[in-house]
């Protein structure tokens, strides 16, 4: 299943609900476009919900890094929500777990944005 990204607003936080596989090609390009559009529209508090993401490859990991650097360079915040064991393992292996702020509860995650 290819990736799909939908967005919703919770207060001033934009939640991106990701579904499917984020891999080189359509999935990673779609993520980049989604984040670019949100930032261009002035959204600087992004919470990426990965709860329904079954699979990420190195390109998908790279897009998460792109999202993080793009948002933080605009003085925004980019955080992750609901990592599967596989995605968590990927972030541990790549040592990116220390870079991203990761949450497992949406309400608490939304409140954590300053």
């Amino acid at each position: 299943m290819s990736a799909r990204f939908t967005t919703r607003q919770v207060g001033d936080v934009t939640v991106i609900d990701a579904v499917g596989r984020i891999t080189l090609g359509e999935g990673s390009a779609l993520l980049r476009d989604t984040v670019k559009s949100l930032v261009a529209a002035g959204n600087k508090k992004l919470l990426m919900n990965l709860g329904d993401v079954s699979y990420i490859d190195s390109s998908g990991v790279g897009e998460l890094v792109y999202s993080f650097t793009t948002v933080t360079s605009q003085q925004g915040q980019f955080k992750l929500l609901n990592l599967s064991k596989r995605v968590e393992d990927l972030l541990q292996i790549t040592k990116l777990y220390t870079v991203f702020e990761v949450h497992d509860d949406e309400t608490r995650a939304v409140r954590s944005f300053s």
């Binding site: 080189l24 490859d57 190195s58 390109s59 890094v65 650097t69 596989r86």
Partner: protein
Amino acid sequence: MTGFTDTLLASNLASVDSAEAMVVESAAAMGFEEDAQMDLGLAIREAMVNAVAHGNAYSPDKQVRLILEAHGGAIRVTIIDQGQGFDLNQVPDPTQGENLLRESGRGLLLMQAFVDEFSVKRSPAGGAEVVLVKYASETGR
């Protein structure tokens, strides 16, 4: 289960998907646990992307050779491209501070993390030859 296939694939993303599917299907048929299937599938995917994108630069004139050997509870996959090859020791470590926020360069790290044996060398024709081995279980080694 014992098996051997030798396949030539075009240098495009469809080949990445088909190679991953082919190897995962073999792993499932050999009784690999689902997690191990996904680990192997990801490693194959990364190796194929490396061959297709970095080795062959998506050239329609170049192919990727995939050799799949299933034997004695192990799957051994050899992926050979027609690029210039590379020296593993010259590849920057993506987990080091200065590289941590780079958008690419993690494929080799993930390949090594998700299989039991990994090696890379220059093929006789000059391209990269990556070998990935995964065992169905710890006791299968």
